[in-house]
Amino acid sequence: MKTKYSKSARAGLSVGRWGGYLAASALSLIAANGVTAQDMPDPDSIGIPDLNEVKVPEPDRYQLDNGMVVFMVVNRDFPLVDAQALIRVGSVYEPADKAGLSSIAGQVMRTGGSINVDGDALDATLESMGASVETSIGETSGSASISTLKEDFPRGLEILGDLLRNPAFPEEKVELAKKQEKTAIASRNDEPMSVLSRELPKLIYGEDSPYARHTEHATIDAITRDDLVALHKRFFHPDRVILTIYGDFDEEQVKAEVERVFGDWPPASEPLPPEPKPEFADVSGNFLVKKGDMTNSFVLMGHPGLRMSDPDYPAMRLYHEIMGGGFSSRLFNEIRTKRGLAYASGSSAGAGLHHPGGEIFFAATQSDSTVATLGYVREEIRKSLAEPFTEQELQQAKDGILNSMVFQYSNGFAVLNRLAVYEYHGYPADFLTTYQQAIQNLTADEILAAAQRNVVPDEMATMVMGNSENFAADLPKLGQVQELDITIPEPEGEEIPIATDADLERGMGLVQGMAKAHNASQTASIKDLKISESGEFKVQGMSLQISIETERLLPSCEKSVQKLPMGEFASALCGDVAWINQMQGPTAMPPEAVSEAKKSQSRDYFNLLAGYSDMKFQALPEQKDVNGRLCDVVFVHSDIVAGWKLFIDSANQQLVQMMYKDRSMMTGAPVTATETFADFKPVSGVAWPHSREIYHDGDLLATLTVNSIAANTGITEDAFAMPSQ
């Protein structure tokens, strides 16, 4: 469809464009002192006067008796003070099954406040001072920073010291941080860049490396307040802190403040645990990340890079400046400027101060040119390793780096923090100057030689991310492609609100009521049970008759024989004895089945009644209707059974239903199981449910009715021994 606008306006535009051009030229001519378009001087001919002297701030460095290092620079231009503490700690130290611990500790150190000041009160205090205090723990260092108006600095420093020395880590803020991290996990595949930055390190260092692994619901679930307290105790000591202070303050006065806040902080009594060394995986190959909601694609190639202390670092910095550093770079010109294919392109030496990062070449492009773009990237890499860069390219890159050096020195705060970071990572204070000289002296041949040493196309991982349907036809051109699974493992249990003492008290009260209603006190008189049940079992749409004979020696020995149309299945568990017989003769029960059987035992009706007084229950806020009965809901805190809840009739205190996480018998996939109890009749005085229904994810799995049940029939452990073949 044509808009009324397009035709007429377009026709006039051509004139307008010339009109504009002529008018501009005409005006330029009459401008008194102006230069016309054609007379603009050649930029290279414009004189460059000497630069005024760069006043590099010289920080005052000193050390407290307890080992804390302090750098300070006074700058009175603005009535502000900024301070930052670098702390020797990091996520690389945390156990794999608690990934996320350090990050959460870093967060709760601030949100939870100290033992002296509540975190929420701190928020209000700082904001009403127009100040901020932030703490965080990254991969290989921690940071705590403050920014205040001049007058508030002493108070700000006090807060900083208090948080570093006496964090409270209150349970509810730990839980809140865990919950926030779990929310982040659930959406971690939304943003393409975050997928890349998570997946790339896994290729470079290996999936399980401390330098690559990341949080999962399970690792967050495993983190407790005690872990945070232990982390703080282990890592936060003044001899592992470098403090920088910048801004408008009186040096002597602030030194006194620092002494007052940190002087009596005792140094570490134990040495730091050894830091894990990054190891490099073989990353070569093609990897595909399917992300159907992307309308463009990312292509990336890379392998491990180098540490900044590497003698090749200045050469590789220049190499990447020329390859992918900016508007002048080869990748930018070839892919974006010449072909209009990419919105973003570039490369990086991936040189880390602490350890080598990923040396990468990348581009973001439209889906249908994904593979073609990758081809252009590869071609540019190939060319860069075959021939030295031109003198012009080299000069351009050197000038760029060297002429911008003044900015590295012009910001006092940046100078100060750079010195702190150098000291932290063990670099000489004049590292930047040495680097600057090296850049100045490098030749194109030296850069080529360094690139040939450090860039190895055959050892690179190639990653492609996008909606692969749009480039599926081209993919085979890459050769073998391995898909990276970015599926987010599901959380084990649903979110349960943080338990208050009142919730726990009420939970125990409800369970006590239930126990009383079922005569739980009589469980003590039952030594063994022989139960015969029958019913229906539904599997894959079929309905099968089932009968089960169970013998139990309480509390933990159990043998059951299940009869189904296709045959008989037996299993037993008693102490170290664990076997199954699935019509092929008895064999040892596989370990995962043992753990499932133990789970099943620990959530068993009898064991619940017999052992409830030693367990932890939490009343949940809302009541729930189960089969027309209004029930109170109690969450059972169990190390063994996940997502275990009891639904107790609020009128007669009978147990109506249990819910727990289980595994599908057919597929082994996690399911939510519900088990309903009805038709209670006494067995040795204990009310025993004679009718049960079991559901998996809401679908009926089995209906079972007790035919007979007898207590104290004299069963011994011999009954559970594995039968001979």
């Binding site: 469809m1 808009t3 606008y5 377009r10 535009l13 051509s14 504009g20 008018a23 501009a24 005006l27 330029s28 008194a32 002192n33 102006g34 230069v35 378009a37 054609q38 603009m40 050649d42 930029p43 414009i46 460059i48 630069l51 002297e53 009175r76 231009d77 603005f78 949100t111 929420d120 904001e127 009403s128 127009g130 100040a131 108006l149 919950k179 926030q180 779990k182 929310t183 939304d190 909601d293 309308t295 463009n296 900016g326 508007f327 400027t337 209009g340 919105y343 492009t365 439209q366 000069q395 351009q396 000038d399 760029g400 060297l402 002429n403 911008s404 003044v406 900015f407 012009s410 979110e495």
Partner: protein, 498 residues
């Protein structure tokens, strides 16, 4: 070292001192001059470190576009990096002829395309091939990215530009001995752009649009402005509709330039280790050619009152988000700061009402953000609040908590302590914003460009200080109404209300 009126800045901390007084010294350091063509310059000498930053402000943005040509303001901004008759070309005269052929080839292609279903497919292919051939021919004359290469070689920092709905600005920093180089390059491109490589750059912008679409929040906020601004051009966003981007032409960019890049509609601010006299001399030499012309009119359309709440719900399997916006007046409203402070009380900082309720107490959100000035603030705009729903929550639960807090703020107003807190936060943010050369340049340019006088930057502190709790409550009552709001959400398909 100089002090920016430290003694007077103590006014920061005492409620009695008039705010603008606290910045008299800083104000006195702002020097201004206007060239004969009407182009205003502001200069602040800061000799601390031998570097300088500048901002060229153009009072034109996405809001000044018309239907069918959306995205052209941003497109022009990209073109401003492509050079001039003397930068970026091997032979300007020959190149001009080649560019004419490119334009003609595109026009011919588009004419056939406009026949819609009657278009001849073979002819289209031929015309496209001719267009590509013309482009290739023109490309022969191009020295790619010469403008940026010159700057990079000279140690440029923070080289960029940005196009918003309200404005376009260009900025970077250089060592201060490159002042003349800067004046020559900046004056030239603001006077004599060539708009070469237009059609290649158009594809880059289309790619940039895809980049935004790949982000769920990008999609959400596009929904939100679409619902909020049906008549006003704020509703079309900056990046432009994909269909427009595929068709906009070099002539469209020229028209935008001719109309909006006129001296009286722009200003240039330079801050750093430079001398105002030197800047003036260089400005006269290199910026006098910037065309004087009629100041373009403001956008006429005002958004008609929406009689009912508008809800935009996107069902997709990504982070669920709840966002709500209320229509508020524009930046020039005498009580603008009542809205700004209301937004801060609600959503700025960890002790804000919404953060406290949504993140800390009810824990229905993992993070929130909000405030005024969405998607711009030159014209009546929106105060927004957005929250990322926690993993065990959903946008509907977030909404119910938000509504409780809204009700409370409307009926009870805010406290004196809250007001003092957000005022202090704003003042501290102000000081931090003018600390760097670039920060001060941007602030001065913004106030000069949008509100017509850079002094309003300092007066704004008095405006802020004058707001009372009654003003804030009145603002809350005026705008926090259901029928005045737009809701945009991303909900999981399983949580969607049927």
């Amino acid at each position: 070292m100089r002090k920016y009126g430290i003694a007077a800045l103590a006014g920061l901390l005492t409620a009695t001192a008039a705010w603008a007084d606290g910045f008299e010294e800083m104000q006195s350091q702002v020097k201004e001059f206007t060239l004969d063509n009407g182009l205003k310059f502001l200069v602040v000498e800061r000799p601390d470190s031998p570097v300088f930053s500048f901002t060229t402000y153009v009072d034109a943005g996405g809001v000044d576009e018309v239907h069918g040509v959306t995205g052209i303001a941003h497109m022009f901004e990209h073109m401003a990096f492509k050079g001039t008759p003397t930068i970026g070309t091997k032979d300007h005269a020959a190149e001009m002829k080649a560019l004419e052929k490119v334009d003609a080839a595109w026009a011919a292609y588009e004419k056939e395309l406009d026949k819609e279903y009657d278009a001849d497919a073979i002819k289209l292919d031929e015309l496209m091939a001719a267009f590509k051939a013309a482009q290739k021919e023109a490309q022969e004359f191009v020295v790619s990215n010469e403008f940026t290469k010159i700057l990079e070689k000279n140690g440029v920092q923070g080289l960029n530009a940005s196009t918003g709905l309200d404005r376009t600005w260009y900025y970077y920093s250089l060592p201060s001995n490159r002042l003349e180089l800067w004046a020559r390059l900046e004056g030239d491109r603001m006077t004599n752009p060539v708009l070469r490589e237009f059609y290649v750059e158009r594809d880059v912008v289309i790619e940039e649009r895809r980049f935004g679409e790949s982000s769920p929040t990008g999609r959400l906020f596009e929904d939100m402005i679409t619902g909020a601004f049906v008549a006003h051009p704020y509703g079309t966003g900056v990046i432009g509709y994909a269909a427009d981007l595929e068709r906009i032409t070099r002539q469209d960019a020229w028209e935008f330039f001719d109309k909006h890049y006129v001296a009286s509609n722009m200003n240039v601010v330079v801050v750093g280790d430079i001398k105002v006299g030197e800047v003036r001399k260089l400005a006269e030499k290199y910026f006098s050619g910037v065309r004087s012309g009629e100041d373009p009119l403001r956008v006429r359309t005002t958004e008609p009152e929406h009689k009912t709440q508008i809800r935009m719900i996107r069902e997709e399997d990504s982070q669920p988000i709840y966002a709500v916006g209320w229509h508020i007046p524009g930046r020039n409203h005498p009580k603008w700061y009542a809205y700004e402070l209301l937004g801060d009380v609600m959503a700025t900082g960890r002790s804000s009402r919404m953060y406290t309720r949504l993140v800390k107490e009810d824990q229905v959100c993992s993070q929130i953000f909000g405030g005024v000035g969405f998607p711009g603030n030159k014209y009546p705009n929106m105060m927004v609040l957005a929250g990322f729903a926690s993993s065990d929550s959903d946008p509907y639960q977030v909404e119910s908590v938000v509504l409780e807090e809204i009700k409370r703020i409307v009926t009870e107003g805010i406290t004196e302590e809250e007001l003092e807190k957000v005022k202090t936060m704003n003042k501290a943010a102000f000081v931090r914003s003018v600390r760097s050369n670039q920060g001060l340049a941007n602030q001065l340019a913004l106030y000069q460009g949008m509100l017509g006088d850079w002094r309003r930057l300092f007066r704004s502190l008095d405006d802020l200080e004058s707001i009372t709790v009654e003003d804030v409550q009145e603002a809350a009552r005026a705008v926090l109404k259901k029928e005045n709001s737009v809701v945009a959400m991303i909900v999981k398909p399983e949580d969607a209300e049927s």
